[in-house]
Chain length 380, copies 2
């Protein structure tokens, strides 16, 4: 185990990169997909199965955990890793995004954001300093600065003043992190700027001047469409330093991931594999399937003959029966298979980059998914 | 693996017995608890974890499976074992009990019972012959005759004419089984007679005259109370042959099981461990716990330090958090731990019988559960 946080680039193929993030809790191979463990659980999965999929790191949500069961409680119980039986690295977001999407009666000012808990209505304040304090109480290996996730659409002026607030918060977050964090923990800055290339560049350069262990691209996948998202990824990645990991927040579909990797992104998180798994959708090497579809009622084919996941060995007819019956095992098996598919996709992407054939690999996957989507009209 | 069904008694301690049922799909150690896999899944559990708890056999419900996904469909897909990824023995009930408890617009006559499916309202007929046909299509290792589960309360006359109908159905079930079953499959008769000792004896003797591979005690745990239930178990067990397994249907709490074992019962099934697991209740070697209870919010004790179950190693504070948050992982872990507790209880019961100390063992467990129930008033 590394004594401290470090990123090593192993190979490049065009703008696509593969490397390793060393942390005291283990190595994260990049490109990396982080399953989302919102409330101290990757939904419907045992933590040992999350590890068995090949996930090197998971994400947990500061907003949810500070409200329930509470960061001080988790700290008193020994920290988030022990609490949720996950001993590999954890990245925590800063809570800012969920405050915007989940909380009620928000008030934002220079000091931070005050909001009403969506659980019990309690008034809670999140400042840059408190966001870092909470993440340190949780014991997160990679922490995020508090930012304002600029709403979409935003005018240029709105986007500019929003990113400037985020920059001031980033500076305060860094100062708090310097005094509260443990050796080996890392802090990432978050690039904002909506869909304005020059603002993305401004934000990135200002963050680089402050200096962070890694850089996230935030404020995307919020309604701007894949084309605009990828344009902003490309613009931002060009500015970011080669020797730091780059993390695209909250993204996305297999195609989103491959297109973003092609533009230089190293890390991702998304609820898609687990949420889809709870909604009868499977990601497979043959494309996306909707297991509710009547065509699977008598289909004795394993879910994904190409996957090494134990859950993917179950036959489609059985999974169809489970999801039609509302059985929890359906969600359990599909979540497991989906998270493993995302991990296998990243593993194959890493290998393709190392072998200089990433573009061909991405094309092939895109082709498979396009065909499957056409087949999978849910006529049931 | 045995070529055919056979029961071997290994030891007795008072009326308590321990032995082995040999089947072509493996040995069932008795006393045995069968987790309930109603709709081709033991709810919220992976089948390999069900096996890991020590379960030698599970129960599946004929009524549910004939309605969804359909017995002919499961047969075409290769049978229930392959369908649900469970290669050890399966016992199926005859469907009669669920027709009474779940279906609407029932009509019972000499030929069988006609009812409306609780899923889609379709009219379905279940005769003794069809109940066996369905169980053979599923490929059940131990099958049950179709009976009428006498409602409680019932007058003596009602109970008598009900058990007589069940006896005529038992005879027809046996004839159907003789022509449809595979070598090694077994058929059990079901003793009825409500809470009337002489009717229980009449029913048992008539079934013994017909001759079955094992004998179930049905129509209990339907509201008559533990005292009356145990009285009927004792009366019936006295009549039943020593060399055939005895199965008390739909029972029960840990204390119900131990009291019934003391009266000579060999097999049980009940939804209690899994249903309780989905409702925040844990069965442990220290007693029953309600994990919603606020007292567990900061409790760093493992769920059950005395259990060998991987799920029982999770701390109570974490389980409390999961169930309060409505996370599926809470139900998954508690179902797993509860099913394993029931299996460990049976394993310890078998050992106690073999060592001639069953009464002391049962007393100790009863004491532990009495204390825990007193402590566990849910004041949250």
């Amino acid at each position: 185990m590394a004594e401290r946080f470090a990123f090593t680039l192993k190979a490049q193929d065009g703008s696509a990169r593969t490397g390793e993030i060393a942390t005291p809790r283990g190595v994260v191979r990049t490109p990396a997909f982080m399953p989302v463990g919102t409330g101290a659980t990757v939904k419907a999965m045992f933590p040992e199965d999350v590890a068995a999929t090949g996930a090197d790191i998971i994400l947990a949500n500061t907003y949810h955990l500070m409200l329930r069961p509470g960061a001080e409680r988790i700290a008193k119980l020994g920290g988030l890793h022990g609490f949720m039986h996950w001993d590999k690295p954890i990245l925590t977001d800063s809570g800012g995004y969920q405050v915007m999407s989940l909380a009620k009666l928000r008030r934002i000012d220079e000091s931070g954001v005050t909001f009403q808990s969506h659980i019990d209505g309690a008034s809670v304040t999140l400042s840059p300093e408190r966001a870092i304090e909470v993440q340190c109480l949780l014991g997160a290996d990679i922490q995020m600065v508090l930012d304002e996730c600029t709403p979409f659409p935003a005018t240029r002026d709105e986007a500019k003043s929003s990113l400037e607030l985020s920059l001031r918060w980033a500076e305060r977050s860094k100062a708090a992190f310097a005094s509260l964090s443990q050796p080996g923990q890392a802090l990432f800055g978050i690039v904002q700027g909506s869909v304005y290339p020059d603002l993305r560049e401004t934000s990135a350069r200002a963050l680089i001047d402050l200096g962070f262990d890694g850089y996230a691209i935030g404020g995307l996948a919020v309604g701007e469409g894949q084309g605009a998202m990828l344009d902003m990824v490309a613009v931002t990645a060009t500015v970011l330093p080669q020797d730091r990991p780059r993390y695209l927040m909250g993204v996305g579909t297999p195609d989103d991931l491959l297109q973003s990797i092609a533009r230089g992104v190293d890390m991702f998180d998304c609820v898609m594999p687990t949420r889809s798994g709870r909604h009868c959708q499977a990601f497979t090497w043959g494309g996306k399937l909707n297991l509710r579809n009547a065509r699977y009622a008598d289909d004795a084919t394993p879910l994904d003959p190409e996957s090494a996941c134990p859950a993917a060995r179950y036959e489609r007819a059985y999974l169809h029966h489970l999801v039609r019956s509302g059985e929890m095992l359906g969600a359990m098996l599909l979540s497991y298979a989906n998270v493993q598919f995302y991990q296998e996709l990243m593993a194959r992407a890493r290998a393709a980059i190392a072998q200089g054939r990433f573009a061909a690999f991405a094309d092939e996957i895109e082709q498979r998914y396009r065909t499957a989507d056409e087949l999978d009209d849910d006529s049931a």
